[in-house]
């Protein structure tokens, strides 16, 4: 009996027959097309710990998984012994609206949590691209974020505490269930975005926010790249309750119009600004924006666009869904806010065909670049990634390939170059997971 067969038998006795998947049943859990030998679906903390302990004893690698929607993030693994799915750990463990905190299991779908909180007029201010399957644990492991980060920040600003199981099967926790806490090292920050390479998240405590009384979206179309910076600066300087400020290029706009069925004013660039407040407050803010835009000296007057409330909803949900556009290479680029316009100019200058889709969280300097695969082969795509990297490097930015055909991923540095701090990262990985059981090779620098 091979080691893995032996492990399968042991795991079966832990999670039960029907929750240990193999062969065809395991196929939907593939990591970058690499089929897992075993998929374990534990139902509680003790089972998670047992799965990890048994895998460790059998020298098996473990790939933690939530809903799988963000699983393409990370370098392609060589082999996948066990996928540990937390999808059955989906309970809300604590929620006291008056404290504005909640504790949930890692496998709880984000959408489900928002529903529960929404009933109390609250929400977790995380709005990453998500499907119905997207779990809290997956969002945190990938540090996924969305447009609302402009006002509310990212997971590092919203997660108060975390319980994890380390590779040796020990459960440990960090942080707490209160909104302000310096008791002990802030390991919570270390776990956020660590792609399951240090430990498997079990429970997370979030700070929640009151839902805004209402929202209003305003579109501002710019006639060219030269107008981006003045408009962006105006938005960031105006006194507004602005929770999102997105910038799209024409290709991204066209996709959004096609996907949403909502008419979008076609132009070289479009800002989508989302304001908070009741109707009177947002109307006042829109007026202030329009007035300020009229005062700017632009290459052509900026055109503002209003939409019906229902259309606004559709625009935002379709915009988020574009992250999952099939058949494209999706890169996340980080830049200084003020370099966004220069970056757009550089991408324009590449005159790519088909054109790349640019979608930026403009107030944060985070850009999603989507390179359509089209009929391009692997080589063409690699050349295009090189062109992108040159644009990013010129502005001292960074980029991560979030999604790409596996053949492309295998041949590019998914996370980009490491910095002078990489020895610290390696030492942390070695400290947590000395035998490299958890998600080996998938994170930055092959961690």
């Amino acid at each position: 009996m091979s080691t893995l067969d032996d492990l399968a038998t042991s795991l079966q006795s832990v999670v039960g027959d029907e929750h240990l998947l193999t062969d065809a049943a395991a196929a939907p859990y593939a990591v970058d097309d690499v089929l897992p030998s075993l998929v374990a679906l534990p139902e509680d903390e003790a089972q998670v710990a047992d799965v990890l302990r048994l895998a460790d004893e059998h020298d098996a690698t473990v790939f933690p998984r939530g809903g799988g929607s963000h699983l393409p993030l990370g370098a392609t693994p060589e082999r996948v012994d066990v996928v540990l799915s937390v999808e059955r750990l989906r309970r809300q463990l604590a929620y006291e609206p008056g404290d504005m905190t909640t504790t949930v299991q890692a496998g709880m779908p984000l959408g489900h949590l928002q529903g529960v909180l929404g009933a109390q007029g609250q929400f977790v201010a995380l709005d990453p691209p998500a499907t119905a399957a997207t779990t809290i644990g997956g969002v945190i492991a990938t540090n996924a974020s969305g447009p609302r980060r402009l006002l509310y920040g990212t997971a590092r600003d919203l997660v108060l505490g975390i319980s994890v199981v380390t590779a040796d099967g020990n459960r440990t926790k960090a942080g707490g269930r209160v909104v302000k806490n310096v008791t002990g090292y802030d390991l919570t920050k270390l776990y956020i975005g660590s792609l399951g390479t240090l430990a498997v998240a079990l429970e997370l405590t979030f700070k929640v926010h009151p839902l805004p009384p209402a929202e209003a979206t305003l579109g501002v179309a710019c006639a060219g790249q030269a107008d981006i910076l003045p408009v962006l600066t105006a938005f960031l300087r105006l006194p507004l309750r602005l929770n999102s400020l997105e910038l799209l290029n024409t290709a991204a706009m066209a996709a959004l119009q096609a996907n949403s069925g909502v008419a979008v004013p076609m132009s070289p660039y479009l800002f989508l600004a989302r304001l908070e407040g009741d109707a009177a407050v947002t109307a006042g803010q829109k007026e202030r924006i329009a007035e300020t835009l009229r005062g700017l000296s632009l290459s052509a007057p900026a055109v503002t666009q209003d939409w019906q409330p229902e259309e606004q909803q559709r625009l935002w949900s379709c915009l988020a869904a574009q992250a999952f556009l099939p058949d494209s290479v999706t890169a996340k680029v980080g830049l200084r806010i003020n370099d966004l316009a220069a970056f757009c100019a550089d991408i324009e200058a590449l005159s790519t065909d088909p054109p790349w889709l640019l979608h930026a969280h403009a107030g944060n300097g985070i850009v999603s670049v989507q390179i359509p695969v089209g009929d391009g082969n692997e080589e063409t795509l690699l050349v295009q990634i090189q062109s992108l990297d040159a644009c990013v490097a010129r502005l001292n930015g960074h980029r991560v390939i979030e999604r790409a055909p596996v053949a492309v991923k295998r041949r590019c540095e998914v996370w980009g170059p490491v910095g002078d701090n990489f020895a610290v990262m390696q030492a942390l990985k070695a400290s947590y997971d000395p035998k490299r059981r958890l998600n080996p090779g998938r994170f930055i620098g092959g961690l």
């Binding site: 404290d99 802030d186 390991l187 920050k189 006194p239 701090n421």
Partner: protein, 492 residues
């Protein structure tokens, strides 16, 4: 410390002198936590990163402990040279290296005084949000070490939410960079891990921070209540209404008296509690929010609501809050403070527990705290010349922290664990939890020379430092109190 090490140290920072005379070292024998004291062997004042690297390498080579120090305003003994050695005083590295309004960033040296950053960017319409009460003297480097908070962190977060990048001299002398001006640096969030590590992971030599646009409008209200319970209920009411004020601070009667004696702001001396509530943001809708807050206070038996009419009055109201600790000095030669946090909804129970503790030990406790985020600041009044009273103070402090933990809270919201509370860590964390933290520390600080023996007790070693009191929780008493509280709660 060997004479040769001192000579090498002197050569590194020449012509800056070293401090080695006992009278020179007196001021460095403690920080704002004055119950424990230990003098360093030497204090050195580096003026640049290269000197910090050289000092750290020297210390590492000779096995000499070292601790970085900012303004020494910390409240948990974080800057105390517990095992002697070198205090690396960072106050001369106090320059602003870069201000970039377009990108909403500033790069500063660690010795920069917190408030000086806000003043420097004020003309550009910006400020640095974390505002500890000591912001007129505490340094950004110290804030990074302690992950400092302040009254306005309710809405804007604490230091860690505003620090984007760090240049760090590791305890082996390596210079590394974490994060930076650009968000979402790929890899582990070492910036987030480092902030709040209380000087045990290395020494920061440059900090990249977020600076924020000053709010268009600010409105400051004072609401007076007959009892702290009524004020607590108003806090819950405001939060439940979906309003997140920029600040939501409470003072009890004892504090009101001390503050009024100090600054004559016209506070009613008979009020049981006051709430200092500040709204900020856009002008539109602020009046309506202020009115809603005022209504909520009225519904909770508020005696009176006073709205600051101008900046001068607003400044006066805040002066009372920011200088409350100092004002308490009028009532007592010494005070001891904790900053445990509890879930906001447990505030009334927590304050009742504090009263019980006050009665049990025959000590006056003044309360001035961040009510909005449940961050208590009970000030236990005492006279350090009375050693028996000091013993009671320590026991009361212990009981206060235990009460916070009992109520689902934590040991510290912003002051840090340091030396003071490290032996209480096991109330919240299992040995396995603490062991993970120890191992992370060993990654940075394997020789345990960089601010040794703080935050978490060393593995298998019970070196309790200068702390002499018994840290073992008195479970019997606490369970009895907890039962009584439960009972009171049920019948309330």
């Amino acid at each position: 410390m060997e004479q040769s090490v001192l000579q090498e140290l002197a050569a590194i920072v020449a012509p800056q002198p070293l401090l080695t005379q006992p009278e020179e070292l007196l001021v460095y024998e403690c920080d704002g936590h004055t119950l424990d004291k230990a003098p360093p062997d030497v204090v050195v004042f580096p003026t640049n990163t290269e000197q910090v690297i050289a000092i750290v390498k020297l210390a590492s080579r000779h096995g000499v402990p070292f601790v970085a120090r900012g303004a020494g305003t910390g409240l948990s003994g974080g800057a105390l040279a517990l095992e002697g050695g070198i205090v690396i005083e960072m106050c001369r590295m106090n320059k602003i290296l870069e201000i970039d309004y377009g990108n909403q960033r500033a790069v500063v040296q660690p010795g920069l005084v917190n408030l000086h950053l806000s003043l420097a960017v004020a003309d550009g319409g910006f400020y640095y949000a974390p505002d500890p009460s000591s912001q007129g003297s505490c340094t950004i480097g110290g804030n990074v070490a302690e992950n400092s908070g302040g009254p306005h962190t309710l809405k804007y977060g604490v230091t860690t939410n505003h620090v984007l990048g760090l240049e760090v001299v590791l305890p082996n002398g390596d210079l590394v960079h974490f994060g930076g001006a650009i968000l979402d640096t790929p890899g582990y969030d070492l910036t987030g891990l480092f902030v709040g590590s209380e000087g045990t992971f290395g020494i920061v030599t440059s900090v990249t921070v977020r600076i924020m646009r000053k709010p268009q409008a600010v409105k400051t209200l004072l609401a007076f209540f007959e009892t702290v319970e009524a004020a607590s209920n108003a806090v819950s009411g405001i939060i439940s209404a979906g309003i997140i004020p920029a600040a939501l601070e409470m003072m009890d009667n004892l504090t009101i008296q001390a503050v009024e004696a100090a600054i004559q702001a016209g506070l009613p001396l008979d009020a049981g509690a006051l709430l200092l509530i500040e709204l900020d943001g856009i002008e539109d809708g602020m009046e309506a929010d202020a009115q809603r807050i005022s209504d909520i206070c009225q519904q909770n038996d508020c005696q009176n609501v006073r709205v600051a009419q101008d900046d001068a009055e607003r400044a006066l109201l805040w002066k009372g809050r920011k200088e409350a600790f100092g004002a308490i000095g009028r009532l007592t030669p010494n005070y001891y403070t904790h900053d445990g946090v509890i879930p906001r909804t447990r505030l009334p129970e927590a304050l009742t527990r504090l009263q019980l503790i006050s009665h049990r030990y025959g000590l006056r406790i003044a309360n001035v705290f961040h009510a909005g985020d449940g961050n208590l600041h009970p000030l236990v009044l005492y006279d350090e010349r009375d050693s028996e009273e000091v013993e009671r103070v320590l026991k009361a402090g212990h009981d206060i922290l235990q009460a916070c933990v009992d109520l689902g809270g934590v040991l510290s919201g912003e002051h840090g664990i340091g030396l003071e509370k490290k032996n209480c860590m096991s109330w919240l964390f299992s040995e396995a939890d603490l062991d993970v933290m120890r191992r992370v520390r060993e990654v940075f600080n394997p020789q345990e020379l960089c601010n040794p023996n703080k935050v978490i007790p060393l593995r298998g070693r019970c070196r309790c430092g200068a702390v002499t009191h018994d840290d073992t929780p008195d479970h019997e008493t606490h369970e009895a109190v907890a039962a009584a509280m439960q009972d009171a709660h049920v019948h309330a």
